[in-house]
Amino acid sequence: MLEIQHISKSFYRKVALDDVSIHVQKGEILGLLGPNGAGKTTLIRIINRIIEPDKGHIRMNGDLMTQQHLSQIGYLPEERGLYRTMTVEDHALFLGQLRGLSKRDVKTQLEYWLEKFEITDWRKKRIEELSKGMAQKAQFICTVLHEPKLLILDEPLSGFDPVNVELIKQELIEMRAKGKTIILSTHNMKSVEEICDRAVLIHQSKKIMEGRISEIQEERKTGEYAIKFRGSMIAFVNALWTSFELIDKEILGDDKFIARVKMRGDNTFEDLLRTLLGQIKIEAAWEVLPSMQDVFIDLVQVKKEVSNA
């Protein structure tokens, strides 16, 4: 769908992107991750042709990207901006027409989205009359109005209440199911785990990681397991003895715990379960995978340490 090839961009002496290449597949949600100032927004602006790269190029469906391709992209920038005195409908008409839709198509699409979000009475409301979250919803509608094949969303969930966060997430999942491609730039790692298929991490202008979420987590797992049980914690620890190491524990009740355990030597998960059987009542057991938050922090910190050294 989108080939970002060897993109470099500098702002005078500051390098914003250094030879970044990313392959975005059709019908996937790609998480674009990175700490503040990593170069994510610069990359997004380059994809949207708002700024030009110093080196490299971008292909969309095999063709070098041109201004014409912009009508296939829906872009929701991080810094939301709407004309305060314009109504929701006027906004939709203006932005929709700029994206190549006819007036009639805009109205049809707007009707669909307002009904879907159950906000038909917002149509004639001016932006200044809406709350921040409401305005954000209106902007989301304006972004997807022209049914873009590629959606680029920069922090689309910030500012929404939990109900609306869920609503937008479901909408994105639905869009993916319809074959739309989505690039999601966010610091909300939980949502990355929940809805992204793959993730790319940019740090200090370079791409330092790319892969499927499950594979990234798999690659970085540390052999930790979690056991949810009923019984005595002392009995649990005694059972571990020297073959396993208790990393952490969470108290759920008087005799209810979740313990995180690491293997020592050649011991396996099966060995652990055998050891514990009869000592405590196991309710659940699973392999602990690192959260994307952990992966993010690990990678960014390691990189920082390396560059400091």
Binding site: P77, G81, Y83
Partner: protein
């Protein structure tokens, strides 16, 4: 172009929907009409009814003045010599506001003296002169020709004797029409300033609320800038049209109702019995003198030509200066920063007004010629020159100035486009010359 047009239409809708636009559309022309009314009224102020004593010892006028319907003057006759001191001090003459002395040599030396207690308004002076002239004309026609007054007035041709200063043969410095040109030019700059500031505010607001990023993901920066300048320009044009319509209607109303006698010589025509024999020109000359401003507004301004070139220079001048405002808005790091950098533009606009005034005073000077072609100043200077009138064979100067302005506007739009493109997404910085130069060099 479609995108620029969409942007222009959005700007236009926002502008004409704003309360300030509506207020200014009505208030602006009302202020102009108010000023015009004052100038008209000042021309006709003073004592409204005059008692005039005509001393005519030789009884040349036969105690007749032939005024039938002018109620503003009441004439009395005395066939004696009355000294000015007597008129001034004697109790019996205190009822008269003025005394006109018709001495026996009046037919030869064509001079009559009017002694007044309180200076008559220009309008009253014109009335008195007109009445005496008419009566003496009748007397002279009867004495020195075999023609009837009617025949004489048929063949009489008005002669406009123009007095010229040898050092200023065209008398342009005192030419009221030049001031009209200056007014037109000043109007261009008022509109450029008002709507230029609107461009600046609009750009900086879009920048500060970040909607510009959404826009730039759909349109090229130059399309955005052009659309914005176009939309605000159309709003300016609409406002100007509203001004012109209201001022035009107001002038018509004033002429028809408030000052019906002004310039309408038909009111003066009734003063003499043979007025119906007067030629149109005669009628015109009958009323032309008494208020120069009325004369200027209703008769001497070539509204058609002036307005055509006003619009041309307004549009191109607006594009020229508008590009500056857009570039400043785009390159500034904050709204306050942008407003600071408007000062040089305001200085340029003020300088242009000064150049217009300078050209009015020194139309033949080298600097006036330079200002005539300089794109910063040409809109106002050309208006002054146009009002004064180009010499035959020099009209090419007008076209040349317009071409220079058009080329300059294109050049500035290109430069501004580059600054706009490179500066529009930069925030929180301070404008420095070095930075601007870097942005200019960047494609």
């Amino acid at each position: 172009m479609r995108n620029s047009w969409l942007i222009a239409m959005r700007e236009l809708k926002e502008r004409i929907g704003a309360r300030s636009f509506i207020v200014m559309s009505i208030l602006g022309p009302l202020i102009i009409l108010g000023v015009i009314y004052m100038l008209f009224a000042l021309g006709g102020e003073g004592k409204q009814h005059w008692n005039v004593l005509i001393t005519d010892p030789a009884n040349i006028m036969d105690n007749k003045i032939l005024v039938t319907q002018d109620k503003s003057v009441n004439y009395s006759f005395a066939n004696d010599y009355i000294e000015m001191e007597d008129f001034r001090d004697s109790k019996q003459f205190q009822q008269f506001d003025a005394m006109i002395e018709i001495n026996e040599k009046v037919l030869a030396n064509k001079t009559a003296f009017v002694f007044f207690r309180e200076k008559p308004s220009v309008r009253m002076q014109t009335n008195l002169q007109f009445h005496i002239e008419r009566r003496l004309e009748e007397v002279m026609v009867g004495r020195f020709t075999n023609l009837s007054v009617r025949e004489f007035r048929k063949i009489k041709q008005p002669l406009n004797v123009a007095f010229r200063n040898a050092y200023d043969p065209f008398d342009k410095s005192a030419d009221l029409r030049a001031w009209v040109g200056f007014f037109y030019g000043a109007l261009i700059f008022v509109f450029i300033f008002l709507f230029g500031m609107t461009i600046l505010r609009s750009v900086t607001r879009e920048k500060s609320n970040r909607i510009v990023e959404v826009m730039l993901a759909s349109v090229h920066p130059n399309q955005l800038m052009l659309g914005k300048i176009m939309g605000i320009g159309i709003a300016a044009f609409i406002q100007f049209t509203i001004w012109a319509l209201i001022v035009g209607a107001g002038l018509f109303f004033m002429r028809e109702t408030l000052f019906p006698d002004m310039l309408d010589a038909s009111n003066l025509v009734q003063m003499t019995q043979e007025m119906k024999d007067q030629t149109a020109m005669d009628q015109f000359l009958g009323g032309i003198e008494y208020n120069q401003f009325v004369d200027l507004v209703y008769e001497r301004i070539q509204f058609g030509t002036m307005t055509t070139y006003f619009l041309l220079f307004f549009i191109v001048g607006y594009l020229f200066y508008g590009a500056f405002f857009a570039a400043i808005g785009a390159t500034s790091g904050s709204e306050s920063d942008g407003q600071q950098f408007v000062l040089p533009i305001i200085f340029l606009l003020c300088f242009a007004l000064y150049a217009g005034y300078y050209s009015l005073q020194n139309p033949e000077s080298t600097m006036a010629t330079v200002f005539h072609y300089l794109p910063f100043t040409s809109p106002v200077v050309v208006m002054v020159k146009l009002a004064q009138g180009y010499e035959p064979g020099q009209v090419y100067q007008l076209y040349l100035s317009l071409i220079v302005l058009i080329l300059s506007a294109i050049f500035i739009l290109l430069i501004a486009g580059r600054l706009y493109k490179n500066g529009i997404l930069q925030f929180g910085h301070r404008i420095k010359i070095g930075l601007l130069l870097r942005w200019l060099k960047k494609s």
